[in-house]
Amino acid sequence: MALPKYTEPHYRIWHYIYLTICGAVFFFLIAPLFVIFPLSFNAEEFLSFSDGMKSLDPDAFSLRWYKDMIYGTKNPWGLAAKNSFIIAIFATIGSVILGTVAALGLSSRHMPYKGLIMAVLISPMIVPLIISGVAIFFFMAKAGLAATHTGIVLAHIILGTPFVVITVTATLSGFDHSVTRAAASLGSDPVNTFMKITLPLILPGVISGGLFAFVTSFDEVVVVLFLAGLENTTIPIQMWTGLREQLSPTILAVATCLIILSTLILVTAELLRRRSERLRGINR
């Protein structure tokens, strides 16, 4: 973005103002996340930087809140983490299977009422979560699935499938259907063709849809608040309760772990996106 030499001075000034504004916005976006990091190592119980921390005194830092998170008495985080992972994993598997199969049907050019069906399939993404929460709660209460893991997993499948449908349909839009016909002409049955030919080619889309579904489930709090009983508590519910009652540094330790997890997911998603772009580039 270097400016050419002949740029007039007042445009030069404008350019620097523009860069400053951009810098400020990036700072606004990312800085709040980095506040949590150092404060989670605070040796004291306050949620602001102590004088010791400002002068980088090693005694002002400790792992006390991480210890509390893992070993603390009456600590809900262990159960919450276990539940969160179980629910998110099953919800992801369900969303990926249902979503991928539906995306295959949707990208067929023979599909009738494509627009209408697509609108229904992605509606859980458009409808405000609070309304989805109320509706799903009514269903689960009637079906006797309120306050069960099954109920929450089903609810998260509802919320997760739109992402899988969208990413997989996008991947399939660049898919060359003659390869499946070639496989069929060589005597492969449809299931074999799907497993050996189609799936490996659309895998990046499937995995990134799965990541979206995983994050949606792992992060979801509105619907779970309606559905969960004491036994089904999840990390977001515990954070919600903690933030409402009293901000304790233990929450910051948990938050730090969550930021690390989301960084890992971001890196995976980015690598997949680039791979998928490369593959689609070859297809064209």
């Binding site: 445009y11 404008w14 951009c22 916005v25 990036f26 606004f28 976006l29 990312i30 709040p32 996340l33 506040v35 949590i36 949620l47 979503g99 199969v101 067929s108 023979h110 599909m111 009738p112 069906i117 697509m118 229904v120 399939l121 992605i122 409808v127 405000p128 979560l129 609070i130 309304i131 989805s132 929460g133 109320v134 509706a135 799903i136 009514f138 269903f139 089903l154 609810a155 509802i158 499938t161 992402f163 969208i166 990413t167 979206f212 992060d219 709090v221 509105v222 309606f226 977001p236 954070m239 919600w240 933030l243 409402r244 901000l247 910051l252 938050a255 930021i259 989301s262 971001l266 998603a269």
Partner: protein, 417 residues
């Protein structure tokens, strides 16, 4: 004869047209069968329950079923003066039955929604009814409390006779049906829901504007920088996007608290006095700041994907034809980004209008939105039919916006990261 000779036959002797149609239908069914599992799943667990909300929001059978004889007797009552003995007797009969089933509490809650003051007089009636003698119920019931002799309360009961009602929707707009059967607004100082609707629209609108103003420059920078720099900066947008909503809200709670870092900074540069630190959380400011930061990536990503496709030579052409950089930007670049602006704004607006978690945590009393009210009625007052009615009012608003989105950008153009 000629048509028969022209017809092309397949090897089995079936006309080609018929055979093709058959194959086409088979393909259609195949495609549909692939979609069917998810479609069926969503219809059962999601679409029907939303329909169920609609039913619940207008369903008013409960009172109809609790007082069947009363409403039958009331059919001949013109509602002008106190009803006849016949109605009182029927009401007494229904009421005794409710007391036997221990359901008179539900009746009082329900009637209290229609008119305040039923709770205490039903309690009194329950106690008194044990000593009632047979016959002349009108006198006996009226003697329990003076409100039972007030025709207004009997009219209130009569208004609950229909099995379906739109009163929850009216209540959502702070209106009700008055004694004369006209739709009127409640007193000005009790119009809580209108305040909430307006505030929801206001916050969603301004959050959208703030997001747009902040996202436009950085999306432009990301789209014009060389790949190796822009990929690095893109992390600043994507990392918050992938991070838990609660984590981001928590960080704002730390930053905005009275002894928090933002306030420390303001004191440090001498903007505010140390003993006069402003409240930046638990009010509208908190909602604005946190929601803008949380929704910003949803504005940046669609803008970026549109700006990426605009060739830089267009701007150069504009400048070489004599436009100043500002004119070239305004006349050439900006119009080309309008699809991205539309997508980003509507996405952010739809998300903001239904926001729940962040306003509940940092919004305080003056920063909560309509979603918080819905959750409150679902979890605290347990008035599920009212929660359903408000939810559907919100949903219809969102669907109108979504329809606009589809008109302007198209559903297929939703991009994720």
């Amino acid at each position: 004869m000629s048509s028969e000779t022209n017809q092309i036959l397949t090897t089995d002797g079936i006309p080609l047209e018929v055979s093709l149609k058959k194959a086409e239908r088979k393909n259609k069914i195949k495609a549909f069968l692939l979609v069917a599992p998810l479609l069926l799943f969503l219809i059962i667990t999601y679409v029907f329950p939303i329909g169920d909300m609609l039913f619940r929001s207008i369903d008013d059978k409960m009172v109809t079923q609790m007082l069947p004889k009363t409403f039958k007797a009331m059919e001949n009552w013109d509602g002008q003066e106190l009803p006849e003995e016949e109605v009182f007797a029927a009401f007494h009969e229904d009421f005794i039955k409710l007391v036997e089933d221990k359901r008179e509490g539900k009746l009082s809650t329900q009637l209290n929604y229609t008119k305040n003051g039923f709770k205490s007089i039903i309690k009194k009636l329950r106690r008194a009814s044990k000593k009632f003698e047979e016959g002349n119920y009108k006198e006996q019931i009226m003697a329990v409390h003076k409100r039972w002799a007030d025709v207004e309360y009997w009219r209130a009961i009569q208004r609950r006779a229909p099995e379906f009602t739109g009163q929850k929707y009216l209540k959502g707009m702070d209106m009700y049906v008055n004694e004369e059967g006209k739709i009127v607004s409640v007193e000005e100082d009790r119009r809580i829901h209108r305040v909430l609707w307006l505030r929801t629209l206001e916050i969603a609108f301004f959050v959208t504007v703030f997001c747009f103003l902040m996202a436009y420059p950085i999306a432009h920078l990301l789209a014009t920088l060389p790949m190796k720099y822009s990929n690095l900066l893109m992390i600043c947008v994507l990392l918050p996007f992938w991070t838990s909503l609660l984590v981001r809200t928590a960080s704002w709670m730390i930053l905005l608290q009275q002894q928090g870092i933002v306030n420390d900074f303001f004191v440090g540069i001498g903007l505010v006095a140390d003993d006069n630190r402003p409240e930046m959380m638990y009010n509208k400011t908190g909602s604005y700041v946190a929601m803008t930061q949380i929704l910003l990536p949803f504005m940046v990503l669609p803008l970026y994907s549109v700006m990426k496709t605009i060739s830089p030579s267009l701007m150069r052409a504009g400048k070489s034809l004599g436009g100043t950089p500002f004119v070239a930007f305004w006349k050439v670049y900006f119009p080309l980004t309008i699809p991205g602006i539309g997508a980003g704004c509507l996405l952010v607006f739809i998300l903001a209008i239904g926001y729940y978690i962040t306003p509940a945590l940092v919004g305080g009393a003056s920063g909560t939105l309509i979603s918080n009210q819905i959750a409150f009625h679902m979890k605290s007052t347990l008035d599920w039919s009212f929660a359903s009615a408000m939810g559907l009012m919100l949903l219809s608003g969102v669907l109108v916006i979504y329809w606009l989105y589809n008109k302007i950008v198209g559903i297929d153009n939703i991009k994720l990261g």
